[in-house]
């Protein structure tokens, strides 16, 4: 969105103008959804997180001071929500209803969730090439994957991504570089 148009829109949004807030949602929902879908691997969770992201925008926009970094602010909210969700999920033990213990009404042993089953190649309707890429992405570390996806979906410069993830720029670049090398290697690209 053009900076002037965005600034005007934000001015209205800060007054909680429903049209302006809906325009913001329409302008950014696709990219926010893409990011959280890729981070969580679940359509249902991604939709919940998109809604929560924009609800937080509505509630906090009055305090937001625009300094040309609205996208960084928006994607920080989304990325933090996705990260919180992943942490909650990792802490929560997974039970299988098919377990013998469950059938007997006894609690089964908690299982550690497999992060690869929670990743984007599963069940979100991708073609083969995308499926392969996302299979490779899911093998990356959480932060490395986040950097690549944030760069793609938020279109933020690396300096802002580093700020958003609270890591030094050099670390963000090194991680992104390593992640890209690994992705190319996994994909068998030169």
């Amino acid at each position: 969105m053009e900076p002037v148009g965005l600034e005007r829109l934000l001015r209205r949004a800060r007054q909680h103008d429903p049209d302006a807030l809906q325009e913001l949602f329409d302008a950014y929902q696709r990219r926010v959804y893409g990011l959280v879908l890729r981070l969580t691997g679940s359509r249902h969770t991604a939709e919940d997180l998109v809604q929560e992201t924009f609800l937080r925008v509505v509630r906090r926009i009055g305090d937001y001071q625009h300094s040309g970094k609205f996208e960084a602010w928006l994607f920080r909210i989304a990325a933090n929500l996705a990260r919180d969700h992943a942490r909650r999920r990792a802490r929560r033990p997974v039970f299988s209803l098919g377990d013998e213990e469950a059938r007997r009404g006894e609690p089964s042993a908690p299982r550690v969730p497999d992060p690869r089953t929670n990743h984007p190649e599963h069940g979100i309707g991708l073609d083969e090439a995308s499926r392969r890429l996302h299979g490779c992405l899911s093998k990356l570390g959480e932060t490395d994957r986040e950097i690549i996806l944030l760069r793609h979906f938020s279109e933020l410069p690396f300096g802002e991504i580093a700020e958003l993830l609270e890591i030094p720029l050099g670390t963000a670049l090194a991680r992104a570089h390593r992640a890209m090398k690994r992705l190319k290697c996994e994909l068998g690209e030169p």
Binding site: H16, R38, V58, L133, H177, M180, L183
Partner: protein, 153 residues
Amino acid sequence: MSLNANMRKIQDDIEREIPKLGTRLDAPAMADDSIRRMRHVIRAEALRCTKRNALRRAVRPWIGLAAAALLAAALKLPAPARYEPFAALEPDADPNQVVSEWEANYDDTSRRITWLRAGWPMADIERVEGTDQDDALDVIEDSFQQLEELLGA
């Protein structure tokens, strides 16, 4: 090569490489009915925030007045002897000044209410039905409740 130049080169490399992943990185769009539902939710939340802010703005001047009325009513009653804070006040103390001090000393809403309530252990005061004091105590009790609602404690 300086560190900055190194970083710039790495950054340029990544900037070249990421677009090569192109549409493979893209995600499918959200379902139309989900988008419609979220628009409604967002608009409803925007209206809620507008109403909440309007209410807050409307109520803000009354909070001070409500507190002043409460304290003024409280000050007209003989304070229980063992109750120090109000007993220590001059009978003709300026309620506005009392409110200002109260607000300054207790910046947290629930602490303000707790302090006020602690100041008036009304259960300890013997009530004589039909007297002015009985009515005044009722007013104070109501005022506490209203104050709690107003301050959202």
